[in-house]
Symmetry: C3
Subunit: 310 residues, 3 copies
């Protein structure tokens, strides 16, 4: 199970920016290619007032800031040039994080999807959509939001695929701004299966793949949860991807690159569960040889050694 996709973390909730310009981004796409990555996913096209592209709609409607660079154009051009697939991540108003209410995400993204497809849909590398709302089992209204937005993405773009990346409500499911790293009330395997069976039932047809984040459970629990995820995805006709996090959730510094051994354990568990694809959050901070975190340079080397054994 090798990584073939990565998120691109602009705009960020909680990972400090690297302040790269176009030259650094082009170099990073080349590093990704060398590591076997053929898919890049914009994690979200905007967050609150910050945007990755100059959205007329969002600037007028919400007073969002015009970004200094059109990153969507930049990433799509690089993906065109290097023959990679680009997935567009929807806008995140921030309101859901504060209130749990997803209606704003639905309302705004109706316009964003139209606007973006008109502006960037001609790029040959525009290959899919990422429904960027990060949810877990208790998120009210998630099924309807994914269903509505997934269908609209497909309808606008001639059926391009969509995917989601929810989290498992495990013992490490704590907010980044929380100083602790674990919580008490983790979900059981049984609850996880029951609840996600219901959610998958509701989004079938609107979502083509589900890429659970792999960092919220213990390393010893990976295989059990992964087998359930794969079984549920198969049952509802979806692809089962893993979002192999390359940052370390076990450390008080939130967040630095993961220890290679932990990444290996997670990829190996996904392979044994028969997963379809592995993507990561995310290459440029946590695995790139030009990352601001030097631990990432060594993780890149360890990962290439591992890759060469297949």
């Amino acid at each position: 199970m090798l990584l073939t996709g990565t998120f691109i973390d602009e705009i960020s909730h909680d990972i400090p920016h690297q302040n790269w310009g176009a030259a650094e981004w082009e170099k990073d796409f080349l590093h990704m290619k060398a590591a076997g990555i053929d898919t890049v996913i914009l994690i979200r096209s905007g967050y609150r007032r910050f945007l990755t592209y100059p959205s007329t709609y969002l600037i007028q409607k919400h007073g969002c800031f015009t970004p200094p660079v059109d990153l969507v154009e930049l990433y799509l051009s690089l993906a065109d040039k290097y023959n990679m697939q680009f997935y567009f991540g929807l806008y995140d108003s921030g309101i859901y994080w504060d209130t749990g209410d997803l209606t704003h995400e639905i309302d705004d993204n109706k316009f964003v999807i139209e606007e973006v497809w008109k502006k960037y849909g001609h790029h040959p590398s525009f290959k899919g959509w990422y429904l960027s709302m990060e949810i877990s089992r208790k998120t009210k209204g998630a099924t309807e939001a994914f269903r509505t937005l997934g269908l609209q993405c497909k309808q606008v773009s001639g059926g391009l695929p969509t995917f989601i990346s929810p989290w498992i409500d495990g013992k490490k499911a704590v907010m980044a701004a929380n100083s602790s790293i674990t919580k008490e009330d983790a979900v059981s395997l049984q609850e996880h299966e029951t609840e996600w069976n219901e959610i998958f039932e509701g989004i079938k047809g609107a979502v083509d793949a589900v890429a659970f984040q792999d960092g919220h459970i213990d390393y010893s629990e990976l295989e059990d949860f992964f087998r359930i995820n794969k079984k549920l995805a198969d049952k509802h006709g979806m692809q089962c991807w893993t979002n192999a996090e390359t940052f370390d959730r076990d450390m008080p510094i939130k967040f630095l690159p993961i220890k290679f051994e932990k990444l290996k354990l997670k990829l190996d568990a996904a392979r044994r569960a028969g997963y379809d694809k592995a993507i990561t959050f995310e290459f440029s901070h946590f695995m790139s040889p030009q990352s601001a975190y030097i631990q990432a340079h060594h993780l890149y080397n360890r990962y290439l050694e591992y890759k060469s054994t297949f």
Copy 2:
């Protein structure tokens, strides 16, 4: 609005030290010059028992530690050599942070000001004083402290200018050791204006410039607060500077370099409000091409690109 000044963060409250020697500091002064900086401000000359210069008074009075290097002499010599202005930041006993009581700062700094002017006043680059007590609207006794110390600095040094750098009591005004990044009870524009009008009234004549820290309010609030600050400064005959923070207050890691777009938003707002000068906290950690934080190297490049457009 371009940066023409920077703090030098020795001694630090909450930013880990870079362990630079004289060679690295000289290189950094050259990097500053290349970025258009002509003013360096020692953020504080001592903090609790740690000192930047071997102060006979503080070592005898409080058992402060003799520093391995006389940083005040080093910085003044470099400022002399490279034709920059040096502002001396007063001593911070730490007692005010614990108790809110500013009388120790007044008492100790009476001696420090005398001692420092005698020891270093001959340096041609010694151009002013920074009253280092970081206060906001609720700090009892701040007006009297600034008045007393500001007048003394001027009297000792033949009228050299003084400045302060308070914070706006906005939603991001939380302590660094607090794991959260925002609070509920932020100040309103109206309260801000009323309260600072009163403080400015009290310090007029003793303080020549006020450089509000720009990181405690939302990006969408910048312009409104900045216009009030400028209006108040004009009314009381003070210069209005901005302290454009180059670290990111929105991230759980406290603190790494800011995203360039955020710095640009803040500098643009200061320009529109007609501010007189922009300084930053601070160049060497967060913007220097030799910073331990590699994000800073890229911020430097992004900033130079921005600067070249003027």
Copy 3:
């Protein structure tokens, strides 16, 4: 008082991994040698399910993960090659950190000690044992655990020396995952002496050296505590080492390299108290010229300058 030993922090509780391979580790042993270090101490051979060597016992008994590299073999080979002494740190089940109960550490390490000596005892650089349970005055059962395990280490290995590295229950004794950096209820000098006198009495003969961690008390308290430690060690026939921490406990980022001046204050205090040896936690993250933390590169240079004055 110069550093002649360092811990090696694999497996880590709270310091993010650097993802070094064999080449980086060999380079680091050379950097250590250049800084005067002749002793390397594996901080623990395993932590919960993560291991530094493929322990048949721990993999079968607790489902521990087989590590991608046998680090114990790697470190011993490097220590053989570069004529350094290697101390083996015992296994840490993690149960003591959760429950305060040390019986699991005793039970598991009985097998680990046998296994390790059989597997690696032929290495000429295998020179001692580190009893890795980190305790302070209030740890129930610590005396018995140290006594039992210390005697067993010696018996198995023909009397090789053992040491411990407890912490002083000072004002900075807070857990890494806690967002604050100090606490109220610090131990007094008198309590420290009384309680540790009793513990030393109990472990005499089983433990050859005690290396108190030096980071939990204020810099102004160092000398008083160090003199008591030395007096107690002398009284019970043990060597008194200092574990000079090279990370900074005073900063909200937990943890980055220490300011050189602080390290110097701590080493100077240990020298004045007549300590026998100085080790550090730890060279590779916080002091190495190839550390992922660039502050460490400069700390290395500052330390070499200091070292050259002796």
